[in-house]
């Protein structure tokens, strides 16, 4: 927060300056130990706040150190002879038993699941947001909002269990086998549907914030021109909140890409470039879990490959988050 809207910056308060602590004193100098205590407390809190930066640096260091260039001894993934960066980025086969690391196979699985999740979650979330912001009475909102909060608080391992032991056997299998398709126990569709369900509360609450930020005057102008509630919602409010909605979509897709437990349980462990949602795939996150669980020896190329995949995952989600924040900042500037 910038100085003008800080809690201490009302006119009566002493002005905040770059040197901070010293200048708010009004009366005479407090005792030495009090001043010392103040300094120590500020230092401690400064370190607490800095921990978040240290965390980010830690993540970047760990991923870089094990993927690109090793500072801590041993050799990083791309420093190994059996691994080539070009093959990693362009290859389509991921089979670490014979050193084939084509990350496309994992990205394809990730995108398939995230795509299905987007098809399920984004429209549902946006429609719910429109309903909550434009149609629902305050009473209905008081019922629906807590339900969405509960849904947002359900651990993802529960969704994974549900995808594997309910959605697949009681929904996906009967429906698609009656249409003549072959449905595997582990399939991208069930996982994608549940990831979609998981992102609904997030899309809904972020989109609703954006919709409610649209000034009343715009809606009233629409009504004054004889527009119906439908016209106002679809042609005035949603377009006006579009950047916020897009930001919420991007955040939700990034969440879907990074989701682990649902896909680890329900989507299978078959890295392949495929468009078949009824068969097993392997996402980047599921691969990381799979390598960890298979107790591959530390220091081997297979083991280091999980850092390379994690780096891809981190960069992918980071880019989506940054774009989303940039879009969000733009819409805030328009209406506030």
């Amino acid at each position: 927060m910038s100085a003008p809207d800080g809690p201490n910056s009302q006119p009566e308060a002493a002005p905040r300056t770059q040197r901070g602590v010293q200048d708010w004193r009004v009366a005479g100098r407090p005792a030495l130990w009090v001043r010392l205590q103040e300094r120590l407390v500020v230092l401690g809190m400064f370190l607490c706040a800095s921990l978040s930066v240290v965390t980010t640096i830690g993540i970047l260091f760990v991923l870089f150190d094990n993927t690109i260039y090793s500072f801590t001894g041993g050799s990083a993934f791309f420093q190994r002879e059996e691994v080539s960066v070009v093959e990693f980025l362009t290859g389509t086969v991921w089979h670490y038993e014979d050193s084939k690391y084509g990350v496309s196979a994992l990205i394809c699985g990730t995108m398939l699941v995230a795509g299905i999740a987007a098809l399920v979650g984004l429209p549902t979330g946006l429609a719910s947001a429109v309903y909550l912001s434009e149609y629902a009475s305050p009473k209905l909102r008081r019922i629906l909002k807590p339900i969405l909060e509960i849904l947002a608080g359900v651990p993802t391992v529960v969704y994974g269990y549900f995808a594997l032991l309910f959605v697949t056997p009681y929904f996906v299998k009967p429906v698609f086998e009656s249409l003549g398709f072959r449905v595997e126990v582990f399939n991208a569709l069930s996982a994608g549907i549940m990831v979609g369900v998981m992102i609904v509360p997030m899309v809904c609450s972020l989109s609703e914030d954006a919709l409610r930020a649209v000034p009343r005057s715009l809606r009233e102008a629409g009504y004054a021109l004889g527009a119906t509630k439908f016209d106002v919602s679809v042609r005035v409010v949603v377009p006006a909140a579009l950047s916020g909605i897009i930001a919420s979509f991007l955040l939700a897709i990034s969440r879907a890409v990074g989701e682990t437990m649902i896909v680890a349980l329900a989507a299978g462990n078959m890295p392949q470039v495929t468009g078949n949602a009824l068969g097993p795939v392997q996402t980047m996150t599921a691969y990381i879990v799979n390598v960890t669980e298979s107790e591959v020896a530390v220091g081997t190329a297979e083991y280091e490959s999980l850092y390379a995949v994690a780096l891809m995952l981190f960069l992918l989600t980071l880019v989506m988050n940054i774009i989303s924040q940039a879009v969000m900042r733009r819409y805030r500037e328009v209406y506030q």
Binding site: M1, S2, P7, N8, E12, A13, Q18, G20, V21, V26, A27, V34, Q37, E38, V41, M45, A49, S52, T55, T56, G58, I59, T72, G74, P123, T124, G125, V130, Y131, Y135, A136, I147, L148, L151, G153, P155, V157, V158, Y161, L165, F166, P201, G222, K229, F230, D231, V234, R255, T260, M261, T285, I288, E293, V298, A310, L313, T317, M320, N321, Q325
Partner: protein, 363 residues
């Protein structure tokens, strides 16, 4: 806005039958049938949006009903008080997972509350608008979007293995000239690196929820009116005295609500625990404390527990859900019932605190 009016004279190709039959095309379209069509469209749109909103209730109901159904008859005292079993799935219980999750929760609160609240107080009360504080704020927003499994990898490397510094031929071993595998601190043996201990898991999950705790605490601090601070400062209190005796007590319920929600999120997280080595089919509790009574007989266990191996409730559920066989699947559903009941309890607590605070009229 001109859509309906413009399109109506030329829309016979996709007009519905009632439009075509009630009036002749072309004439008097501004009248009833455009209105009817628009009303119908509006009604359908509202129904679709309402359906989407209510579908989340249906989803929640379906989820809960099916899981209770799948777990039926399994959630009982024996399930809560027996260990996991890899040979007898019908007897597998969640005792080790419950205690593991309990210890995780305790340590997460102990780590993330002081650090999170401290960071929030710094950002809200002290920080001036420098490039560094701006960096911290942007960074917090980005950290909240990092997938939890990436935190797991950080925890695995930084806490469980400690970058291999203590490996037989790692940096520290070479410096000291021998193997270092533990240090003693006030009589407690702390393994180095931490290995797959409760502390590794708790540190990892604390980093994961820290952005949530910080943002919630910031909001709570921001809600404290400036007049309280001014009054305290005007009476000659120092800035820290003001924060400690006025601002923090005034914002405690908001902070508490945020902390409980953050911790309940951490307790349900599974992916980072898989990475930092929570055990599967594990038959021991941290510090060998199996019931509150054990604390009296074995108080040393309390000190050793954070450095012990462990498993956690969501980890147990995950390992069961992966096993084939109806018994494990029923056990997994029962484990989910226990986990959800615990989370519901915590969320209920948070809501109670929030409501009590609101009914007092803020501050």
């Amino acid at each position: 806005m001109s859509g309906p009016q413009q399109s109506s004279p030329i829309f016979p190709p996709n007009s519905s039958q009632s439009d075509a039959s009630t009036t002749g095309r072309g004439s008097s379209l501004i009248g009833n049938d455009v209105g009817n069509r628009r009303r119908r469209l509006g009604w359908m749109f509202e129904a679709v949006c309402g359906g989407a909103a209510w579908s989340s209730l249906a989803m929640l109901a379906l989820l809960l009903v099916s899981i209770v159904f799948l777990s039926w008859g399994r959630v009982n005292w024996e399930f809560l008080t027996s260990y996991d079993s890899s040979v007898n799935p019908a007897k597998a219980g969640v005792l080790a997972g419950l205690w593991g999750s309990f210890w995780l929760m305790l340590l997460i609160v102990g780590i993330s509350v002081p650090v999170g609240v401290g960071a929030a107080v710094y950002l809200e009360e002290y920080a001036s608008n420098t490039w560094y504080t701006r960096l911290i704020r942007i960074n917090l927003a980005n950290l909240a979007g990092v997938p939890s499994i990436v935190y797991g990898i950080l925890g695995l490397t930084a806490f469980v293995r400690m970058f291999g510094l203590f490996d037989p031929n790692g940096f520290v071993s070479r410096m000291v000239g021998g193997n270092v595998d533990a240090i003693r601190l006030a009589g407690v043996k702390i393994p180095l690196p931490f290995g797959p201990a409760v502390l590794s898991g708790a540190l990892t999950l604390s980093l994961l929820v820290l952005p949530v705790v910080i943002v919630a605490s910031q909001e709570a601090l921001r809600a404290v009116p400036g007049s309280i601070r001014h009054a305290s400062l005007a009476l000659g209190a120092t800035r820290w005295q003001t924060i400690r005796h006025q601002v923090l007590p005034a914002s405690i319920s908001g902070i508490l609500t945020g902390v409980i929600l953050a911790v309940s999120r951490a307790v349900g997280e599974t992916a980072p625990l898989v990475m930092v080595g929570a055990a599967v089919f594990y038959r021991r509790t941290p510090g060998r404390i199996e019931s509150p009574m054990d604390v009296l007989q074995n108080p040393g266990g309390l000190v050793h527990a954070p450095f012990d191996d462990y498993t956690a409730l969501p980890m147990t559920i995950y390992s069961w859900a992966k096993e084939p066989g109806a018994d494990y699947q029923q056990a997994a559903a029962a484990g989910i019932v226990v986990l959800l009941a615990g989370l519901l309890l915590m969320n209920g607590l948070a809501i109670t605190i929030r409501n009590r605070h609101e009914s007092k009229g803020g501050h």
